[in-house]
Structure formats: structure tokens, C-alpha cells
């Protein structure tokens, strides 16, 4: 075998390799399917070329040429279809243009197979057998037609490169990969047959390299090519928010005008000087081989807050997935500067509000609904030393309260934690009274619930707790009306009387007033309050008796 025979064989191996890679990928996109057909046509052509290089009879080659070689007629049109599927150029009414191109190719095909004369095979000193013409057929016109279609393909890629419609750095390589076999083919497959009547082999070898190169170039990029058409770009350029798309390597495939304003001349997300907080959040799906649950992946979104210059953005990162495999991310960055300013203002006001409202016996406690914890502030902890931790999980708090409050109150607390706690905070009027009683502790708290906007504070629930122990004790003091009359006389009526007598003893002695370090006015004021106390108790007592 000659060197050219080995090279042809190698090109067949390369093409088969391309086939295998495409099959492994699964032919899921239109580009892949069209590219598969293109490679099949190329393989047929290569097969015939290979037969010419080895010692096979002319009759066999003629048969193969007659039944198989017509595929080369469609080679150009399949290539054009593949490149068009890469969305490098969007043309209106492309369907009709495609019909036109296919019609011309079909016309060539019909004339080719309907012409009965066999192809001429010429003997070359360098290459051995080479293909000549089929006398009288449209053979040479078909070659010009294919050359024309390939030039259109090159023009589309060149347009994408010049107009920068796609931020796809390997597109230049793709262009060169096609340009080389195209020039070779134009010279040795079109010009030579036209001038000398026979073609020089070798174009299939170059095309097989181009085929493999294309597959490698587009391996991970079919998804992103689709983001690069004019319609899409013009649409997202009108959005007054940052929009950009990047692949798993972090290469940015498209950024709209807002993106280019914020990040001029940046091609990778890892080159961002500002606004890169989202890198932390997307890390979880930027790893290799990540698979997402199909049922939830459409809902997944990661949010980060970014500051770029003096403006604030909320980045929402949506993974782009091909089946279950994540290919990259599309990011929408909303300008939330005004919102952040308003939020800061509210938070500042809220802090002031908390500071100003540090009124005696009133405390704000936070409930972190995300971590299910109750957070006690320092002021509360300092006042009520029975709580010795600044944070309690729901379970810890319930276990701790078990020894402080009665069973009914404990069940109420458990019910609050077990039910959707959000609904408790939604009810602005919801209040509970908790009585903490142990041999050494007695406190009564009134607890109300306040829900805050989650955008204002992260721990978005607050408990407003008032220490009402004193007022509760006062109520208990008046809880005497149901006692027996002797008890009331001894403990209720006689108490102010005894105080009045005691105070009068002081008043009756000038030395007593002096030693008491009280003025006579203050003592009389105390006597007066005791008399009023007695009077009110008598009134309550008489009302009870009249009711009875």
C-alpha cells in the first residue's frame, strides 16, 4: 500500500472514532444528528477512496461508485445544515431556503444516478487510480455546487467571528478546520477535474480531521451556542438587569449590555473583581459529574447579594442542564440598590426602635426559624439568670422549661413549636401568659409574637416579652373575696388597720418622726393610702355579701 492508502485508512479510523463519540453522546441535539449524517456521507466517500488505493478490481470499484458514491453530492448540504444548527446565524424563511438547496442537490442526485455511463478511472503515477468524470453527466457542475455550499458555510462562520455574535473562543479554530479542506477541495476536487479531467485524492483525509476537531470543539458547547443568536441577544439586551451565561469551566458565552457595563472585557467568571459572591453559591453544581433530581431541578435557584461599585445586585443563578447533567449557569442580576438602601434604613430604624424601647420589664427575643432556635439577648439573660445560655434549640428550651412551668403551659409551648410557627406569628393578636414557678423562682411573662419581613432581618420572628410578675402578684393579693369572713377580717381588714396603728404610733412621738427619717407629711400620706385601701376592701366585701 502507498502512503496515501495508509492516510486514507487512518481517515476512515478517525471518522469511525467520530461516529463512536457521537453515538456515545446520544445524538440529543439537532447539531449532533446533522453532524452524524454528514459524517456518514463522508465515510462512504472515504470507503470508495480507500478501494482505489488497494488492489481491487475496477468492476468492484465501479459498482461501489455507482451505488454509494452519490452521497458526496449531499456532503455540502449536510455540512451547511450542521453549521446552521449551531445557530451562528439566524435567517428568516430558512425553511424555504433549505428546500431550495435540497431541491438543487436532489436534482444533481437524480441526474447522477440516471446517467448510465460508468465513471472513468485514470491511472496516476503518484496516487495510483484516481477518479475521473462520468462522461456527459453534470459531474463538474455538482462539484461547483458543493464548493458553493461550502463557501456559504465558511461565510456563516466568518460572520459569527466578525460580528462577535457568539462569545465562543474556539470558533476561530472551527473556521480554520473547515477552511483547509475547503481550499484543498476547491483546488484538487473542483479545479483539477475541471482543467485536467481527474481529481487528486486527499480531501477526505482533511475532512475527517475537521470532523473530529469539530466534535471536540463542540463537545460541551451545543447548549451555549443556542444563546448566541441575534433574536435572543437583542431581547436580553433590552432587559435592564445583568444577564450572562457561562459554562462549567466558567467561560462566559454571553453577557447583555448591562453585564458589559458592569464587567467590561471579562471572559471568565473567575476574573470578576466585584460581585463574585455568587461563586460560593454556585460551587455546589460546578463540580464534575453532578446530577440533579429531575423533578426539582427546574425549580432550583441560588441567590446571592452582590455589590458592584455603589450599586447592589441580587444575582439569581439558574443551572442549565442537559437531561440530568449540568452544563453551565445563566445568571440574572437584578439591581436592588434602592431596596438595599431602604432595607438598611429600616434595619437602622429597627435597631433604634429596639434601643429606644428598652423599657423596664420588656424584652425582645428572636426566633430563628431556619435553625429552629430561640435567641435571648444579653439584657434578658442578665435580668433572668435562670437562663444560662444565649441560644436554645426548641428541644433544649422545652426540656429546660419542663421544670419551670406547669404541664399545661408546657404543652402550649410544645404545640407552638410543633405547629407551623409562621402561622403563630401571622396572628398579631396572639398572646400567651407563662408562669415560671419553682421553689426559688416566680415570674409571670406575657408573650406576644411579632413577624418581621424576612428581607429586613434574617431572624424574621420576634417575641415581645413583658415581665408582669408585679401586676400578677397584685392580682393575687386581691384574690381574697372567696375566703371565710374570719380570715378576711384577720388578714385583709386588719392589715391596713395594723399599719395605721403603727404609723400613728410614730406620729404620736416627735422623736419617732425624727428617727423614722420621714416627714410627717409622708407619714400622713401613708396613713391616707392605708385608709383608702381599707375602704376599698370594705366596699368589695360588702358587694360580695350583698351579691350573696
Amino acid at each position: 500500500m502507498t502512503l496515501i492508502a495508509y492516510l486514507t485508512f487512518l481517515s476512515i479510523i478517525i471518522n469511525l472514532l467520530t461516529f463512536i463519540m457521537l453515538m456515545v453522546k446520544g445524538l440529543e441535539t439537532s447539531f449532533e444528528r446533522k453532524f452524524f449524517i454528514f459524517n456518514f456521507a463522508l465515510l462512504c466517500w472515504q470507503f470508495e477512496e480507500f478501494l482505489l488505493r488497494i488492489s481491487v478490481s475496477i468492476d468492484v470499484i465501479s459498482q461501489v461508485d455507482f451505488y454509494l458514491s452519490f452521497f458526496w453530492i449531499f456532503l455540502g448540504i449536510f455540512l451547511l445544515d450542521s453549521i446552521y444548527e449551531a445557530k451562528l446565524l439566524i435567517i428568516k424563511h430558512f425553511f424555504w431556503i433549505r428546500i431550495l438547496f435540497y431541491s438543487i442537490s436532489m436534482f444533481c442526485f437524480v441526474t447522477y444516478i440516471s446517467f448510465p455511463s460508468p465513471r472513468l478511472f485514470l491511472e496516476s503515477k503518484t496516487f495510483g487510480l484516481v477518479l475521473g468524470f462520468r462522461e456527459g453527466s453534470l459531474d463538474i457542475i455538482m462539484r461547483f455546487w458543493i464548493a458553493f455550499v461550502v463557501i456559504i458555510c465558511l461565510c456563516i462562520i466568518a460572520y459569527a467571528l466578525v460580528a462577535n455574535v457568539v462569545n465562543f473562543r474556539k470558533l476561530r479554530l472551527f473556521f480554520i478546520g473547515l477552511l483547509i479542506p475547503s481550499i484543498y477541495g476547491a483546488v484538487f476536487q473542483v479545479y483539477f477535474p475541471y482543467v485536467y479531467g481527474y481529481e487528486i485524492p486527499g480531501a477526505t483525509i482533511l475532512l475527517s480531521f475537521f470532523s473530529l476537531l469539530s466534535l471536540i470543539i463542540f463537545k460541551d458547547n451545543f447548549m451555549f451556542i443556542n444563546f448566541s443568536n441575534d433574536n435572543f441577544n437583542s431581547l436580553i439586551d433590552k432587559i435592564n438587569s445583568i444577564v450572562f451565561v457561562f459554562d462549567k469551566q466558567g467561560s462566559i458565552y454571553h453577557g447583555n449590555s448591562s453585564f458589559k457595563t458592569c464587567y467590561p472585557d471579562i471572559e471568565s467568571i473567575y476574573s470578576f473583581q466585584e460581585g463574585s459572591n455568587f461563586l460560593n453559591s454556585i460551587a455546589e453544581f460546578m463540580g464534575e459529574g453532578d446530577e440533579w433530581d429531575r423533578t426539582t431541578m427546574d425549580k432550583e435557584m441560588l441567590i446571592s447579594e452582590e455589590r458592584i461599585g455603589n450599586e447592589y445586585f441580587q444575582f439569581m443563578c439558574y443551572p442549565i442542564h442537559d437531561e440530568n447533567v449540568i452544563r453551565g449557569v445563566v445568571v440574572f442580576g437584578l439591581n436592588v440598590t434602592k431596596f438595599v438602601q431602604a432595607r438598611n434604613s429600616v434595619v437602622k430604624s429597627f435597631k433604634n426602635f429596639k434601643r429606644l424601647n428598652e423599657i423596664p420589664n420588656s424584652y425582645f427575643l428572636e426566633i430563628d426559624v431556619t435553625t429552629k432556635r430561640v435567641v435571648f439577648n444579653d439584657r434578658f439573660l442578665h435580668r433572668f439568670m435562670l437562663f444560662n445560655k444565649s441560644q436554645y434549640s426548641y428541644l433544649e428550651l422545652v426540656l429546660y422549661l419542663k421544670k419551670l412551668i406547669v404541664k399545661e403551659d408546657l404543652m402550649l409551648i410544645i404545640a407552638l413549636f410543633r405547629m407551623d410557627i409562621d402561622s403563630v406569628f401571622e396572628r398579631a393578636s396572639k398572646k400567651i401568659i407563662l408562669e415560671f414557678q419553682t421553689p426559688s423562682v416566680y415570674f409571670v411573662f406575657e408573650i406576644s409574637f411579632k413577624k418581621f419581613d424576612p428581607h429586613v432581618i434574617s431572624n424574621n420572628h420576634l417575641i415581645y416579652l413583658s415581665d408582669i410578675t408585679d401586676s400578677s402578684v397584685e392580682l393575687l393579693k386581691n384574690d381574697w373575696v372567696d375566703k371565710s369572713t374570719p380570715w378576711i377580717v384577720s388578714h385583709v381588714f386588719r392589715k391596713p388597720v395594723a399599719n395605721i396603728i403603727g404609723l400613728m404610733n410614730i406620729v404620736n412621738s416627735e422623736q419617732g418622726i425624727f428617727e423614722s427619717r420621714l416627714s410627717s407629711k409622708e407619714i400622713f400620706s401613708l396613713i391616707n393610702s392605708e385608709i383608702k385601701d381599707l375602704d376599698s376592701k370594705i366596699e368589695i366585701f360588702s358587694e360580695r355579701n350583698s351579691d350573696g
Partner: protein
């Protein structure tokens, strides 16, 4: 030996009177501290802290009211047994009640040395001082000091 008299009474006027009369009854030489609590639980916690700090129980004397909210004088006495089971802390009941059943009940407690009716007066103060501080023996058979 320093003695601490602890007044437990929810009525501030009663505490004011008792404190005033007790303070003026002591000589300046006598090492007596008078503390008062309107919430019995706070008084109990105070006693507990003192005992935990190794203060001898017999140096603590309590002047205790009966009718108080949350925990009354009887409950206070029961709770005090937890911290001082040996009953070294002595108590004088000091109530407005002249009900014989209250007096009998008070004197039934072995910790209670005496029952004094309100209001606190000079003669009663002398008895309290003599009993608590000057360790004058008390006639336990007639612990009730009538009004």
C-alpha cells in the same frame, strides 16, 4: 457574732415600720444586719445563698408574714425545711391576723419561736431583739404575745 434578721412581708408599710423600730432598738455595737424582702421567693433565695456561703443557720433570724401572694408564710416554712432541715434558722411569725387558728398553727411549727401581731410596737420589738439577738431564753409554753 454577726446576726442577720430577714424580714419577709409583702406589705412595704409593715416592713418600713418593723425595720424602723428594729434598727433603733439595736446598739451600734451589736453586729446586726436587717434585710427585707417583699417577695418570699427572693427571701428564700437569699437564705439559700447565705447557707451555700457557709453562713451558720443559727445566725439567721426570720420575721415572717403569713398572708402573702404566690407563696404564703406556711409554704415558706415548708420550703425553708429543704434548705435548713436542722431548723437552726429561727422564725417569728408577724401577721395582722388575730385568728386563734392562725396563732395555733404558727406555734405548731417547731421552727417558730413566737407569734407577734401587727403592728410592730416598741414593746414587741424588745421581745424580738431579746429573743433573736441577745439570745434571751423564751418561754415556749407561752409563745403567743397578744396584741
Amino acid at each position: 457574732m454577726n446576726t442577720e434578721i430577714i424580714l419577709i412581708d409583702d406589705d412595704p408599710v409593715s416592713i418600713l415600720l418593723s425595720k424602723f423600730l428594729l434598727e433603733k432598738s439595736f446598739d451600734s455595737k451589736e453586729m446586726v444586719t436587717i434585710t427585707s424582702f417583699t417577695r418570699p421567693k427572693e427571701g428564700l433565695n437569699h437564705i439559700k445563698d447565705l447557707l451555700n456561703n457557709k453562713v451558720a443557720g443559727n445566725r439567721l433570724k426570720v420575721l415572717l408574714d403569713i398572708n402573702m401572694p404566690v407563696i404564703n408564710g406556711w409554704e415558706f416554712l415548708d420550703l425553708l425545711n429543704k434548705y435548713d432541715p436542722e431548723k437552726k434558722i429561727r422564725v417569728i411569725m408577724h401577721s395582722s391576723s388575730i385568728n386563734q387558728s392562725d396563732i395555733s398553727k404558727a406555734l405548731a411549727y417547731s421552727r417558730v419561736d413566737c407569734y407577734i401581731c401587727k403592728p410592730m410596737e416598741n414593746e414587741k420589738v424588745i421581745r424580738v431583739v431579746n429573743h433573736f439577738v441577745k439570745a434571751v431564753s423564751v418561754n415556749y409554753t407561752n409563745k403567743f404575745e397578744s396584741n
